[in-house]
Amino acid sequence: MATLTINASRLRKSYGTRAAVRDLTIQVGRGEAFGFLGPNGAGKSTSVKMLLGLVKPTGGNALLLGQPVGTRAVRARIGFLPEHFRFYDWLSASELILFHGRLCGLAEDTLRHKVPRLLERVGLGTQHNKPIRSFSKGMMQRVGLAQAIVNDPEILFLDEPTSGLDPAGRKLVRDVIGEQCHRGATVFLNSHLLGEVEQSCDRVAFIRDGIIVGEYQMNAWQSAQTEVEIKAARVSSVAMERLKDFTNNLHLKGETLRLRVTESSSLPHVVRCLVESGAEVFSVVPQRVSLEDLFLQVMGPEPGR
């Protein structure tokens, strides 16, 4: 059993009569990359802020690394990249990382070696002395990422880390997430870019109206069902009836048959059934269900509202 690094139970936050988060119950293990998804106004930011100790919950409880959220001992072991990372823009990149390293209580000796290495890692090695005000939004995010990992956190919270980043920057974020998980850190990723989440995370949770409405092991929903597109001629109504034994999700349009089976092992039976009923099968192509498809299914057609 994996050690839980994030363990939140019925966490709640209300502002007056308005409930921003109604029930946040999540468990995340060590070394896991966890995606936290939801439409605008669903309570994502408030949830993350509660876990970071920036916002006091109205109810429920949460443990980070086995200790109550927000304590200094916990904060010494976490890292956070806020959305739209901003800082005193007259500092240079290395001064900024140095400042954050000192805030983490790191020794000067450690920082002397670490700061150049970190800036090199986020692709700003040659620009370490430039003031941040001359940086683009993407470069600013890179600096933000470097400050978030300066203390080798055990839990790394990333809030929209790839917004404003070019493809190379996005790859960098993915790589850093991979490295952090590999060294044993938990990565908590809050993002709108579902493609990024799909590539980086092991598991995702959806939040809607302040409640977790679903948790999925990445790709589990794909192995749990297979949607296929079959090109076949002369599909008879008898064949269609017989196929209903395998699926109730069946559409025939011209010579294209789309169906969804819960187990891929039933696909040979589907094909045999078609052939035996006199149909001519030209191709069987599995269709991929993307995270975006899943998101839209869970959230409904107008998730933003």
Binding site: G31, V55, F80, R86, G105, G184, G214
Partner: protein
């Protein structure tokens, strides 16, 4: 939730890590032991870190340089004026009359300087907490292993450093120039500087306390509003004292209790002038009522409590 066509089986098990858990835990523990301070930097270290960055931040703002230029302009102007006054000092004018003129001029410049210092205290600090909360800059700092009250204290120390230098330059410079040109050395020069400095501290504290909960603009407006109230209250008190209207005197005292900035200035002005001149009540700043030492103590406590209030409010609020 709408009926879904996708099989949504929630993961019920605790996730399985990609690599061996013990190995990960061991690695994590090793990294923690690399931290010099497992609970973050000490309160003193945090305060000094934030103070240093705040001092530099304040120095980067245009307002400081503009105020500094204006201050130096004042000093240059004042020096020139003093030069001509001294040059045209006729031998038959008594030394008392000459000094009275110089003291009056110096006090005008000191007053302008104290106003600029007060404005500086408000304008540079009104944005520091509220601005960083609004922009999200504070999020990366407050999630570090530091106490929130140290963040406020650090900022305060940074501003105190900046304002101290400012008071020394502008007001200290004024007193020094006046001394050099006219030979008049105020009996309690350093006390005058301390009182004007305390005036800035009072405004700094209250602005920071406001800035923990209100926007930058609102915080600045509240502090300047209080400053204005104290100014008017001071004149009402003087008027009441001259015309023996007790209610006006009490109103004036009440305004000083709400915001002691003007009381501090009046005391500073009183102790700056030669004792005889002050007692004669011939300068605009030498009314019959001079704020007591108790008022100075009250102002010092006020300044201290407002910083503590800022720390308390900032530690409690959601960011």
């Amino acid at each position: 939730m709408s009926e879904s066509t996708i099989d949504m089986r929630a993961a019920t098990d605790t996730p399985t890590p990609q690599i061996d858990d013990d190995q990960l835990n061991a690695r994590a523990m090793e990294e923690v032991s690399n931290l010099n301070h497992p609970f973050g930097p000490s309160a003193l270290q945090t305060t000094l870190l934030i103070a240093r960055v705040t001092f530099r931040e304040a120095a980067r703002r245009m307002i400081l340089w503009i105020a500094l230029l204006a201050g130096i302009g004042f000093l240059a102007f004042f020096w020139t004026a003093l030069y001509f006054v001294t040059k045209h000092h006729r031998p038959h004018t008594s030394i008392v009359d000459f000094r009275e003129g110089v003291v009056m001029m110096t006090m005008m410049v000191l007053y302008a300087g104290s106003m600029m210092t007060s404005l500086m205290a408000v304008l540079t600090s009104c944005d520091t907490l509220s601005g960083e909360i609004a922009s999200g800059t504070i999020h990366a700092i407050a999630t570090k292993p530091v106490q929130r009250w140290c963040i406020v204290l650090g900022k305060w120390v940074g501003f105190v450093g900046m304002l101290t230098l400012y008071v020394l330059l502008i007001e200290g410079g004024t007193i020094l120039l006046s001394w050099i040109q006219s030979g008049y050395r105020p009996p309690h020069g350093s006390a005058v500087l301390c009182l004007i400095w305390l005036q800035a501290m009072v405004l700094l504290g209250i602005t920071m306390a406001m800035s923990t909960n209100f926007s930058s603009l609102t915080s600045g407006a509240i502090s300047l509003g209080l400053y204005g109230l104290a100014f008017v209250g001071g004149w009402i008190e003087q008027f009441g004292s001259l015309r023996h209207v007790k209610a006006c005197v009490e109103l004036g005292i009440l305004s000083s209790l709400i915001m002691p900035s003007d009381a501090l200035w009046r005391r500073a002005a009183f102790i700056f002038q030669p004792p005889l001149l002050g007692a004669a009540g011939v300068t605009p700043f030498s009314g019959t009522l001079v704020p007591s030492e108790a008022m100075v103590v009250y102002a010092a406590v006020y300044a201290l409590l407002s910083v503590l209030l800022a720390q308390f409010l900032f530690s409690r609020r959601d960011l």
